[in-house]
């Protein structure tokens, strides 16, 4: 079964995630070299299609591609024909007519990567679609947790914050579940999806109680731009009930770790001092981002990406 795209975690399944995590160990070593660059993807072209703002994801993909010796095509929506009214389909067909091997796409609408994969022969990598999925973020989170604990299976992971609008949460629930973790979603009811019965996770409104036996506290960004829609009475009340304050950190088990996908709203969902603590893995997440994205690009373009049968991958 050939894996061609990473549009969502379901394209990979457990076997695919494991392959990417073990490939990441190789790229960790490559990144520590005097010359952190290998010729693995020489002659391959990767295009970035970013319809939404991004700093860390785009820079991280860019660095990953350069360390693999791939050529990159930059496409920024603000200075392109999209401004003149070109449709998504026409843009993608133009880009792929120039001969690209992969397109990394970020778009405000859910499902765009799946549409794109119908219109082009290139591999599609989802760098975030609406509030749907952000699979490479999940893969780097899985890698960060695996590096910390040796495995993900059996770990209790609390994901707290704006679950409703978070693509990171959706991909992470799928990925953590595939890897055998126990997941608790903590958020005010207004910031939980309407129906979570089909989600393989528990939900809770009691942040303090769920912190006690958690191994990983995964904080999500409070999407301040949505504040006018009044999902919470006030930010101060939100911080009081669902913010990771220093007092809450003191209640954690000794081995527990704190993660955040960034960008952080210090003082809202996470106290200013918390990301600097020893058990906060926020900077590990960023540096693992490059490594894991190298693994994703190499997995799709550098191997025949043939997974052994029975990997549970969809398509």
């Amino acid at each position: 079964m050939k894996v061609k795209h990473v549009r969502g975690i379901s394209d990979l399944g457990k076997k695919g995630i494991q392959e990417i995590l073990s490939l990441s160990d190789h790229f960790l070593e490559v990144s520590s070299r005097r010359i952190p660059k290998v010729p693995a993807l020489r002659g391959k072209t990767i295009a970035w299609l970013f319809y939404e703002d991004s700093t860390r994801t785009r820079l991280s993909f860019e660095t990953a591609a350069k360390r693999l010796s791939a050529d990159t095509m930059n496409f920024s929506v603000s200075s392109s024909s999209v401004k003149k009214g070109e449709s998504l389909r026409d843009t993608v067909e133009t880009v792929s007519a120039m001969g690209v091997d992969a397109i990394v796409v970020r778009h405000g609408s859910s499902g765009v990567p799946w549409l794109l994969s119908r219109w082009t022969d290139a591999s599609i990598i989802n760098a975030g679609d609406g509030s749907h999925e952000h699979p490479t973020q999940s893969l780097l989170d899985c890698y960060t947790i695996q590096k910390q604990f040796g495995e993900i299976e059996g770990k209790k992971i609390v994901i707290a914050g704006d679950i409703k609008h978070s693509r990171v949460a959706r991909s992470n629930v799928a990925a953590f579940k595939a890897m055998g973790a126990e997941i608790v979603l903590v958020a005010p009811r207004t910031l939980l999806p309407v129906d979570t019965t089909s989600w393989p996770a528990e939900t809770s409104q009691d942040f303090d109680a769920s912190l006690r036996d958690a191994d990983v506290i995964y904080m999500l960004r409070m999407q301040l731009e949505r504040q006018k829609e009044t999902f919470v009475p006030s930010l101060r009340e939100y911080t009081n009930d669902f913010g990771l304050t220093l007092e809450r950190v003191k209640k954690l088990q000794k081995h527990s770790v704190i993660m955040h996908p960034g960008p952080m709203n210090r003082g809202v969902e996470i106290a200013s001092e918390v990301p600097e603590l020893e058990n906060a893995l926020v900077t590990n997440q960023v540096s693992n981002g490059v490594i894991v994205r190298m693994a994703v690009l190499y997995f799709l373009l550098g191997t025949s990406a043939d997974l052994p049968e029975g990997n549970g991958s969809n398509e």
């Binding site: 190789h26 070593e29 005097r34 290998v38 010729p39 550098g302 025949s304 049968e309």
Partner: protein
């Protein structure tokens, strides 16, 4: 580890079926002793020598050579491992790599690097290994030690130290273990 240099054999798609035993464990042991002495003789000692085993088949051979050299000369030499997957010329045609990450915890500059692999076949793995080594530094010299030279070279590469020359057919496979060397073929699971 079965050698699968030229025609990629996808993992989990077949099993190695041994047809004949080429060397037994004593044979492998004796060949490694002889190669250890040859390395010493050729380089007039162990000064500046480092061993690099290629993932995955060359790693245990490199470690064994280092143990032998320590016993003969009483001197420990650095042993590293190298995974050449990212330097291959058939990228995209092969399955996901199975080896371990590269581990070269020493400087190669001005050292004599002895590459160690289990089977020398087309020479393409060694070509990739030499490319990789250059990224780590500029060695004084690069030498090659292999347990089996099975012919069918596609590049101008020759070994400096050989356990055994073994004429083979292209479609055959050679399996090198510490317990012996076997010639056989891959049988697909379906048949």
């Amino acid at each position: 580890m079965a050698d699968s240099e030229s025609t990629p054999t996808p993992r989990n798609r077949g099993v190695f079926v041994a047809r004949s035993e080429i060397m037994d464990s004593d044979g492998v042991r004796r060949a490694l002793w002889r190669m250890s002495h040859e390395i010493l003789e050729q380089n007039r000692g162990l000064s500046g020598i480092v061993l690099i085993g290629l993932e995955t088949g060359g790693v245990h051979l490199a470690r064994k050579l280092a143990v032998n050299l320590l016993e003969i000369e009483g001197q420990e030499i650095p042993v590293g491992t190298l995974d050449v997957a990212f330097y291959r010329d058939d990228i995209g045609m092969r399955p996901v790599i199975p080896g371990n990450p590269t581990d070269l915890p020493f400087d190669l500059t001005s050292q004599i690097v002895v590459l160690v692999d289990d089977v020398l076949f087309t020479g393409r793995t060694i070509r990739a290994a030499m490319d990789a080594i250059v990224d780590f530094g500029r060695p004084a010299a690069v030498q090659l030690a292999v347990m089996i030279d099975r012919g069918h070279r596609e590049l101008p590469i020759r070994p400096d130290y050989v356990g055994k020359n073994l004429p083979t057919r292209r479609d055959e496979l050679v399996d090198v273990q510490e317990t012996g060397v076997w010639l056989g073929h891959i049988e697909s699971k379906e048949s």
